[in-house]
């Protein structure tokens, strides 16, 4: 008799445990590369924090997994032909995680928050062209700009303009950065710089979503350890997976390797205001001197594609230009013609990461074959940005060649061209470190922004890209491929071309 009671308890316990595992929670753990400093979308500038914010926040518009613009909290937008007045028709029946209804007032509060210079928010430039925001009715908002900006709707898809609950803003003030309250598929649970936990939003406005109960982001900087996490099942999705680990990952039956295109372009910027790069023939020669296929094979283990236009294919208004074929003989001929039959010496700057150094060494080897002697100078991030972006006058720039990359976070050609190749974008305004200035390219870039008409913009950007491709202010190198590893049980998590993650449709089997 005294034996029966404990046994009953034991049996009951096992039954409960068994039943519990049958309705086990579907928990998704995503392993990422770096810490997430905080979660205020108007103040973050790294794609990782933005990815985490994307699980909890949404903007008027958004991006699908291929960086195509899609409506989100706004159902549609009317734009006038001067691209200065935007009327957003908001979605009905959406509430924030704390119950506050999402309406035009909320939009006004959020936009004005970012616009307000006293808030010192680093994403302010996304809305700095806004003159005023008017609430027409609870689900209609009119935004009036002080100058035409055809890409404004893209700015409304950028995480910097995600909608935060006005009640939470009032309640938390600056601490909103560690207490996110949005309209997204997941609700905030806890924050630590290396671990962010979220849970399912039961009243999410998209029916049938989300499919998992929790999403946790864990920062694991060492790629070998991240891969180990995937192997042990501690994580079901890891990004990025370095190219070196693709083969071992593919050899494991329970794992999948997902490869997708990105909008990250890698190129060598040449200071077109300095000798010898002011001579078009020299710039052309350098483009002919690099075997781009070998570049992708050696530096990226084959997981990159060659650039065939000044902007990557997945960017809005991309226009394919062609190729700069590998022709060292022609390169030498051009150099002689330009007055450098024995080549010249030059410094090549870049970051100190392993990949950057590998790329720079490769370029050093390629250029050596045509007589250009390169000294590789990897510079620490702070020093590099100071030497490149803090230069006040073009004549003072000491950069000769810089190996760098760029990703247009608005998904639009404007941000892929204007900050880098527009004559008004010389440092310290923006990032035209090649000091490239072409009146015709300038005109085309301006035309692209002056209208919101898709076909007009497309024509303008096609022209701009053609001009830039011929002028070769850069040695055009490669476009990254994004590599992620996931458990075969997982589907619905996407690696977006800008490097961000979309976990809304995550499903675990």
């Amino acid at each position: 008799m005294s034996q029966l009671f404990p046994r009953l308890i034991l049996a009951a316990a096992f039954t409960v445990a068994g039943a519990g595992s049958a309705i086990a929670a579907k928990d998704l753990v995503i392993g990422v590369e770096s810490n997430m400093p905080h979660l205020d979308p108007a103040n973050t500038n790294d794609t990782l924090s933005q990815s985490v914010e994307r699980t909890m926040y949404q903007g008027l518009f958004g991006f699908d997994k291929e960086m195509k613009l899609i409506p989100a909290l706004a159902e549609k937008v009317d734009v006038d032909e001067t691209a200065t007045e935007f009327v957003f028709h908001l979605r009905h029946g959406v509430t924030f995680h704390d119950g506050t209804p999402f309406d035009a007032d909320a939009v006004k509060v959020n936009l004005e928050r970012v616009m307000n210079p006293d808030n010192h928010l680093s994403r302010r430039s996304l809305v700095s062209m806004v003159a005023h925001v008017d609430v027409l009715d609870p689900s209609t908002v009119k935004v009036v700009l002080s100058q035409p900006f055809g890409a404004f709707v893209n700015n409304m898809a950028h995480p910097g303009t995600f909608m935060i609950s006005p009640k939470a803003l009032a309640q938390y003030g600056k601490d909103i950065a560690t207490h996110p309250v949005g309209t997204g598929p997941f609700k905030f649970v806890s924050f630590a710089p290396d671990t962010v936990k979220t849970t399912k939003n039961e009243s999410y406005w998209k029916p049938g979503l989300p499919n998992v109960d929790t999403v946790t982001f864990k920062a694991v900087p060492e790629s070998g350890s991240r891969f180990a996490m995937l192997q042990t099942g501690e994580a079901q999705f890891i990004a990025p997976l370095p190219a070196e680990l693709v083969k071992p990952a593919q050899a494991i039956p329970s794992l999948d390797v997902v490869i997708s295109p990105s909008i990250v372009a890698r190129y060598l910027a040449l200071n077109t205001m300095k000798k010898p790069f002011d001579d078009l023939r020299v710039r052309e020669a350098l483009n002919y001197a690099v075997d781009k296929t070998a570049f992708t094979k050696i530096v990226f283990n084959g997981y990159a594609t060659t650039m065939d236009a000044p902007i990557p294919p997945n960017l809005g208004f991309y226009s394919r230009q062609g190729a700069w074929p590998y022709d060292p003989a022609k390169a030498k001929a051009l150099l002689s013609e330009a007055g450098y039959p024995d080549g010249f010496s030059v410094e090549l700057w870049g970051a100190t990461s392993t990949l950057a150094k590998r790329a720079m060494e490769f370029l050093q080897q390629q250029f050596a074959a045509v007589g250009v002697k390169v000294t590789v100078v990897p510079l620490e991030a702070g020093v590099l940005t100071a030497k490149l972006w803090n230069v006040q006058k073009p004549e003072d720039a000491t950069m000769q060649m810089d190996y760098t990359g760029w990703s247009s976070s608005t998904g639009d050609a404007d941000w892929g061209l204007r900050p880098l190749l527009y004559s008004k974008s010389f440092p310290p305004n923006l990032f035209n470190i090649a000091y490239y200035h072409s009146a015709t390219a300038d005109a085309a870039i301006e035309a692209g922004l002056a209208s919101a008409d898709q076909s007009k913009r497309a024509a303008a950007y096609a022209q701009a890209q053609a001009i830039i491709w011929k002028d070769a202010p850069w040695v055009f190198l490669s476009v990254d491929q994004l590599i992620a590893g996931q458990s075969k049980k997982l589907s619905g998590v996407y690696y977006m071309p800008d490097g961000g993650l979309l976990a809304e449709e995550a499903t675990l089997n």
């Binding site: 070998g224 070196e244 094979k297 100190t352 392993t354 060494e361 490769f362 050093q364």
Partner: protein, 289 residues
């Protein structure tokens, strides 16, 4: 009649007695020869190494050890064995010189501090406390900011942050040795301060110093590699051992030979210095006996 201190003076000169003892330590002598061989190989790298350290071969990247390439090839197809030989120039120099400099400076400070005591001791130790508070990375960045990048400055940077360690080590031993019987005896017969420190106290601190010096050589080679990640130190395509290790990190489990062979090079070097150091210390030790 000789007293204890005087009996420490040998019949033949100290130097030849030391050398006599050293000659008997075969292991240490072998180690010394090995080090000499490494240095010569590094010096004559153009003739010793089978391949050039920087010529790429894109058709044979990341291949494992084979007859053509005993240590395999790296991500650009360069022969790793040759790069290790060439790399010896930088790594052996950086490894040894930087620690030796730090040792010299630190030992001097430690002796002065421990022997003098009082205010001088406080000042020197507080100065070391300030240095110790700055992690190596920061001090190295400071050196770069002031002196500019380049391998010579790596040497100075590492010397600067190993100095306070030697200082504290030597000071500790000095404090203890000050009280030792033979030191008190020497003092009582009027031996002056400087010879006292140099001939009676310093040898007593040497065992600790030699052990730490020989161990740190490996660490400083590795540190030099870590510093390259902040833009300090040997720049590509320099075949420095630590840099080769760092570059091989992402290939662990895929192309292990990238890290194993430079690691072995460092291991053998440090082992040789340790064996030599032990021999030196033992040979010196009997002088005190």
């Amino acid at each position: 009649m000789t007293d204890i201190v005087v009996s420490a003076v040998d019949i033949d000169s100290p130097l030849s007695a030391f050398w006599r003892r050293m000659r008997r330590k075969r292991v240490a002598l072998c180690a010394g020869c090995a080090i000499a061989i490494f240095m010569i190989a590094a010096l004559f790298a153009p003739w010793v190494a089978p391949y050039d350290a920087t010529t790429p071969d894109y058709d044979h990247v990341l291949s494992g050890p084979s007859f053509a390439h005993p240590a395999g090839t790296d991500v650009f197809g360069r022969d790793i064995m040759s790069r290790i030989i060439w790399g010896g120039r930088v790594s052996l120099t950086v490894g040894f010189v930087s620690v030796a400099l730090g040792c010299l400076a630190g030992t001097t400070l430690g002796l002065a501090s421990g022997f003098a005591g009082g205010f001088l001791d406080s000042v020197i130790m507080r100065f070391c406390d300030v240095l110790l508070a700055f992690p190596g990375i920061l001090l190295a960045i400071a050196v770069v900011a002031v002196l500019g990048p380049g391998i010579a400055n790596v040497v100075y940077a590492i010397a600067v942050f190993s100095m306070p360690v030697f200082a504290r080590l030597v000071r500790g031993s000095t404090l203890a040795l000050k009280q030792a019987v033979y030191v008190q005896a020497a003092r009582s017969i009027g031996v002056r301060r400087l010879p006292l420190i140099l001939y009676h106290i310093l040898p007593g601190t040497l065992p600790g110093v030699i052990v730490y010096l020989s161990l740190r050589i490996g660490t400083s080679i590795l540190t030099a590699a870590a510093l390259s990640f902040i833009g300090l130190g040997a720049q590509p395509p320099s075949p420095e051992w630590g840099a080769m290790l760092a570059d091989g990190r992402s290939y662990l489990g895929v192309a292990d030979h990238l890290t194993v062979f430079p690691g072995i090079a460092i291991f053998v070097t440090v082992l040789a210095f340790n064996l030599l150091g032990d021999g030196l210390r033992d040979a010196l030790d009997q002088r005190l006996g």
